[in-house]
Amino acid sequence: MFRFVIQSLILIFSYGNFIYSQSCDLILKGEITDLHDNSLLIGAFVSIQGTNFFSQTDLDGSYKIKGLCPGKYNLVISHPKCISINKKLNIKQSRVYNLELEHHINELDEIIVTDSKISKLRKSIQEVSLNISDINSYGSNTLVEALNYIPGASILKTGNSIGKPIIHGMYGSRVGIITDDFRQYDQQWGPDHAPNIDFDSFDIIQLIKGAAALKYGGDTSAGSIILSSKRKKLKDTLFGKSSINIESNGRGGKFSSRLEKNYSNGFYINGNFTGKRYGDFNTPNHILSNSGFKEANFSIKLGKDLINKGWNLKYSSYNLEPGILKSSHIGNVQDLFYALNSNEPSIINDFTYNIEAPKQLAKHQKLTLRYFKSFENNTKLELGYNFQNNKRKEFDIRRGGRTEIPVVDLLLKTHTLNVSLSGIDIKNWDFELGINGFFQDNFSTPDTGVKRLIPDYIKFETGIYFLGNFQKNNSFLWEWGLRLDHVSYDSKKYYYKSVWNERNYNILFQGFETGQDFANQILTNPKFNYLNLSAQTGVSLNISNELKLKMSYILSQRAPNPSELFSDGLHHAMAAIEYGSLSIEPETSHKVLFSFSKNDKKYNWSLEPYISKTFGYIFIEPTGLKQTIRGAFPVWSYDSTEAFLTGIDINSSISINRRLMFDVGASYTYAQDVINKNPIILIPPLNTFQKLKFAPLKGKWSLEFTHQTSAKQNRFPNSNFIFDYIEDGKLVSETVDISDSPRGFQKLDAIFSILIGNKNNIRSNLRLIIQNITNSDYRDYLNRMRFYSSEIGRNFQIQLNFNY
């Protein structure tokens, strides 16, 4: 039985200077082999559409086409027993392009192409991509920890197991996370809500600093993080990997495993499992009581990938139960004041694996169905449906045996539908267009016995986008994109009558009143509609062979999130009362990004300055004190202002010799509230990293040191407040300083890696990792638990990886 399959692999790049001379002397050559047994295929026909260029494979299975000019070509590969295949190719220099074919007798159209490269999302914006396996090698255990190694990205932490990505000083709803081509919808508005994603089940992380991923949305002005899996190889194979990680700090570990079976007809099935269990972590000086966490995730995916069509179905389940530092549970500002003035957490118990209140429970289930079909003219139609079911519970220490009842209990269901058409080529233009929409239902259980933090609502969003790029030759590319989104909220919320009236909502939003009452509360039905426009345009220029310049302008608009609109209550860990505002309008952000990069064999660097201005920037600020039965609390209210952000990310990598590599990176962000003339809160301070890696030429081991520094953030707004307490029979007034940033810090890690076995197709590798070697005691400005405790101390990790 013969089948034809084509696999393309870019093997060699030759560095010729003739790219810019338009001389037409390029050569395209390669071999065509049978996928199953690697035997050479004779008599396959390779031609270039629209030209007279062609070649037929000889007895060695090789073809050769001479005299090509640089440019984009459509390759047509055919064989007497197979349907013709089109393959798009951008030829910049002479190259080898090997193909694998497979014969089908009955299923002539089932021909598969796999690309070893993940395609770039936008070409005029510098994009960072990381392999998940590389991230694991640093001993990172959460998705966001991995971002530490990307200049311009940082982490907003709540303790050590909850982290949110920050890109260019923005986080939360301003950062989009995309998995398997769909936006992630969890309760992302919360600064203490980690993205509910198991990153071990993906292969690649791509990061774009700006709302340029218009395909997925136009509201993420900070940027997007895209997680994807590598495309399947199509041989009959069974492979997998497993990794075991044991850590001293937290006395826990992680186990993850993946198994994948591929069939030559393009069908594949794979499964992933990740489990993590940690007890209390410790700082250099003491145990962080109730800081352990449990995580268990799995996913299963099956599908069929062919050259001109394919489908896949994936189900994934994510379960995280993190403890929240016990001493961060405080009753009022007085408790906060004592915590700030103490060097140690107020509660230090013996080490335990038990996780008690305060804690969180997050469950995220996802079902994705995707289908694509390619047509002969290279256009590709993609359809996708996705359902996400997000459950979130937060537990607090409560009276009357209610600790087992969550104080927050939310269920968020999101249905998304995507339709896109890409690869529409008209001369030098390439277009993509699509439409996506989601329907979201948020339900807040009344069984908590606590006022809802976020009300019940239905959110509906539809977006259409149109992207295009123009590429005349290889040294110049212009691209642009437009997107229009309609967002609507239909919410049902109880307000205390006193709050509703105090905020003048009884006059401003009288139309939202339903006339229904419950005790001293009023039921309202706020409805909002927003129309948001986003756009991107940019160019990519090759100044010389190695030097590249990219420039991009991005416009993005974001509708307020539920927390910005509806928040209404006490936020325990911050001892603050937070109020949303129904009057908040969408924010509009303009951002210009530049990227200069140089790539040669020995020395690579990139410089990425950016500047942005956001009108109607939504932020939360202290607006006074409110008397409660627990004492006076500072009130924080959402408002909008004009924000100016600028900064620069620098990255460089030097091969000192063939054994020694040195990487250096730095990033700085300046952020100012232009109207109130105040710095913006929680902006990452100047930070740097350096990495020195030594790997002997024929050795099986490597040694790596990484050094991170973070300066003191001197630019922070003043959110201090005054409270009084009784000392020695006198009433004393004190300032509660919650604004000041901790001093700068540095952290040194080392990684030793050795190949311990490579037999019977099983590759095993052992890593020894020491984090925070110097056991330095520091606090991080971007950790919301910094008021209560230091960061974790020295950690030894042993990591065993098997690939089979």
Partner: protein, 181 residues
């Protein structure tokens, strides 16, 4: 290509249908906040049997003053109530008595000096009185305030100032105190 678009829009229709049918949200149930304390009631009984009751309410700042005479024993009773639903008033004090092992009442005075001891009819855990019922004795005249705390899960039950107790405040209110001869 028009054909694809037609197909695409056809596939989009089911979503729109879902939306049209489910566009309005059911009315959510109202929540009567549990374990919430809206009122602190302090009853001060003088040696001659006269009773002063102070009802500290959340909705307004209560400025009523506790009047004491120096060097006399007053019986002070505390109760905590949740009156957020006027038709269903809840006595939270009962919960505190149930969980006496993790609660402590503490009175901290400013500008006046008052000695507080656990009353005979106080809720006790071992020898420790929770101070829901206490005896006050002022040693000198003057006016000041008393800060009434209900501390949940204190780390130390025998402290002499608020910081020493640890734990967290479920209640912290100020009431003026006036002491005469």
């Amino acid at each position: 290509m028009k054909n694809f678009l037609k197909k695409a829009s056809l596939l989009y229709l089911p979503l729109l249908t879902i939306l049209i049918y489910s566009c309005s949200k059911d009315d959510p149930d109202g929540i009567n906040e549990e374990e919430f304390i809206s009122n602190v009631v302090i009853s001060v009984t003088s040696p001659d049997g006269s009773l002063q009751t102070i009802d500290w309410d959340l909705s307004e700042t209560n400025m009523e003053t506790i009047n004491l005479k120096a060097n006399s024993n007053y019986s002070v009773g505390l109760s905590f109530e949740n009156r957020s639903d006027p038709t269903d008033i809840e006595d939270v004090t009962l919960e505190i008595i149930d969980e006496a092992d993790e609660h402590q009442v503490f009175f901290e005075f400013a500008d006046v000096s008052v000695d507080v001891t656990s009353a005979n009819n106080d809720t006790k855990v071992g020898s420790r009185g929770v101070l829901l019922k206490s005896v006050w004795n002022a040693s000198s005249t003057g006016s000041g305030i008393v800060r009434v705390y209900l501390i949940h899960q204190p780390t130390n039950f025998n402290a002499t100032n608020r910081e020493g107790f640890g734990g967290f405040n479920d209640v912290s209110i100020d009431i003026p105190v006036s002491i005469t001869d």
